[in-house]
């Protein structure tokens, strides 16, 4: 599965290019609007073409991401996918209660994290050693909060609450709680 950091890099490039284009456009407009120009009438055809472009962008964005970001379809269809491993995690009094001290995952496995809150609304996210995020979800009390993820590379991840649950929630970090190991270690 494509790594989430690759998706973020792609997004950063696309959005940066867009920002540069729109800033240049407004700068150009600000200059030209103060000058005498020949043609000040904009034909409706240009307007309707612009509307069409907006519709195409608005609709195609989600179709493109659904078909290129693997976890999008996996998330919506997770009830129909059998996980290789399930971790049941409880959260209470601003503390994660893990099924074991370290959650070990074999490389290539699809893992379901099933997180339950007994009091407040929290978040559940995995973070790399450089503090970048792998994924996150909300943990709402009284409801099932589960996320399916496939891990393809050996790595160590930290669990962190990604939702504000009062000042005490700032310390909800379990360092290096998840470890993905090469499959052939068990061969």
């Amino acid at each position: 599965m494509i790594d989430s950091s690759v998706v973020l890099t792609g997004q950063a490039i696309a959005y940066t290019l867009y920002v540069l284009v729109i800033m240049i456009l407004i700068g150009w407009f600000a200059y030209k609007v103060t000058r005498v120009g020949k043609n000040s009438i904009i034909k409706p055809a240009l307007f309707y073409s612009f509307v069409g472009l907006l519709v195409i962008i608005g609709v195609s964005l989600h179709i493109v991401t659904y078909n290129t970001i693997p976890w999008a379809s996996m998330d919506l269809n997770r009830d129909d996918i059998k996980p290789d491993k399930v971790f049941n995690i409880n959260v209470e009094n601003h503390q994660f209660k893990l099924p074991s001290e370290k959650l070990i995952i074999n490389s290539g496995e699809k893992v379901l994290f099933n997180v339950t809150s007994n009091d407040l609304t929290y978040g559940f996210g995995l973070f790399r050693e450089d503090n970048s995020m792998v994924f996150q979800m909300q943990v709402v009390p009284g409801h099932m909060n589960d996320i399916l993820w496939r891990f393809d590379k050996p790595a160590v991840y930290t669990i962190r609450s990604t939702e504000y649950s009062g000042p005490k929630g700032n310390d909800m970090i379990v360092k290096n709680a998840v470890e993905v190991i090469e499959t052939n270690n068990f061969d």
Partner: protein
Amino acid sequence: MSFLKTLIYGEQGLFKPDTLTPMQKMTLRFVVIGLIYYGFAVVEGMIMRVHLVTPVPTVDTNQYYAILTAHPLVGIFGSTYPIVFGAFLFLVPFLMKKPLWSIKLANWTAALIGFGTLTFWLAGFISEYAPLYTLYWPLPADFTQFNPLGGSFFILGIALVMVGTVFFVINIFKTITYTPQGWEKQPGGALIASALGISGIKNLFRKKKEEHLVSLPVAAIARGTVDTALNAGIILFTGVLILIYMLSYFFGYDLKHSSIDALLYKNWFWWGLDLIADGMVLIFVAGTWYLLATLITGKKLYMENIARAALLVELVVSWTVWSHHLLSDQAQPGILKVVSGEMVTAFELITQGLAFFITLVTLWSARPLQMNNPLKFLLGGLLGFALAVPAGIMQADIGLNRILHNTQWIVGPHVHVAVLVGLTMTLYSAIYFLFPILTNGAKLYSQKLATFHFWAHLLGGIGMGAFMGMAGLKGMLRRTLYFNGEFNLYMILAALAGSLLLFSFIAFFFNIVMSVGLKGVIGIFMPAKLKTKDLLPAEK
């Protein structure tokens, strides 16, 4: 004039509060209240920016989160609401060429918002009540972390703001529909139907089209006011719910948190909050762009009928868009995530894109224009939304939300660029435009300061949003404190950009005070000497 004399009497002594009508005074009171609370929000923002670089010794974690809770509420309810309400309470009568229904009620709105904001701000500051504006259940009723007495005053303050908001809503709709004394009977029903777009929908099925009875900006104000009213209802209801838990606690009853479904509550609350973020703000801003473009150019709005229809679409979109805040809630039904969270949200790209295009073309049609303060700030406002709306559409995607939700990306390139660059620069454009009208020709103290205000605000707003966004893409969460310098480079750059915003506000505030003088500012809050319901004094 010496510096001291200008400070007391204003630039060239031109501003004379005694010559103001009650309507002018009422509007200026709103503006002053809004600007003071904007100053509060900027200072709070800077404290947090510095704290994210290096902990401020006098601000502990509890106080930090109390500031984080108050900051957006002061910014929206204490600052944006009064500036927008004041402007619209002046503009609706101005555009409809009839007196405001009640100046007294408008003054009550200003007082309630001013006092209510001070109440909840103080309650947060003293008691450190910090459930954030999101109020995710059951956090606002978690009395192991928060003092219920402080929380009660906090909720009371918000409730006062909401009562003031309800007064504003009544005043706007009554002004559109009522018949002033001595006037021919006004068609109230037809006027409200035109303002809300009902007659426009009927026109689609009629051979003989009816004329629009209210102008496009009034229609925009009316439609945005519908969302304002609905939101006030949601917030008041939520406040009462939290108060019940607090009062029960005082009387020794420990009500079960599980009696309220946390996910249902979250849906309810975001439905209400998006009436502001994705309804009222976008509709009011589009309406203000259209009004400013026509006032600056003196030309008719390009594609006016489509703009009018798009405002109605935006209103309906704002009622059905909330689920993009719950894309990371796994219990939220998938159909709501896709339809409301992704598809309906994408409509905002279209409606806001239309408003952007129509405004630019209207300006273009009047070339050459003079690059004055209202035009400059209007272009800044347009740029702000052109940057922030696509950033929002990206995060309203099931795939991308998984790695963006609750990061600094959300609050940087989307929220702060939309609010600070898009919304605030649009409001500044209106303030610069209305300043000579509301002050009977007072002169701006310094154009150089106004130019500095523009550039510092624009660069500060975009810069801060950009550096926060970069940190977000690297995994930095919002609403989270980092103590080991994990994201220090981005946070230092964001703080430097934030300080530009602070300096720009100081320049603007100083410029306005020097323009009207301290005596003038006090005079705005004194009772008006002219007894008239007219907007402006009669010309001599």
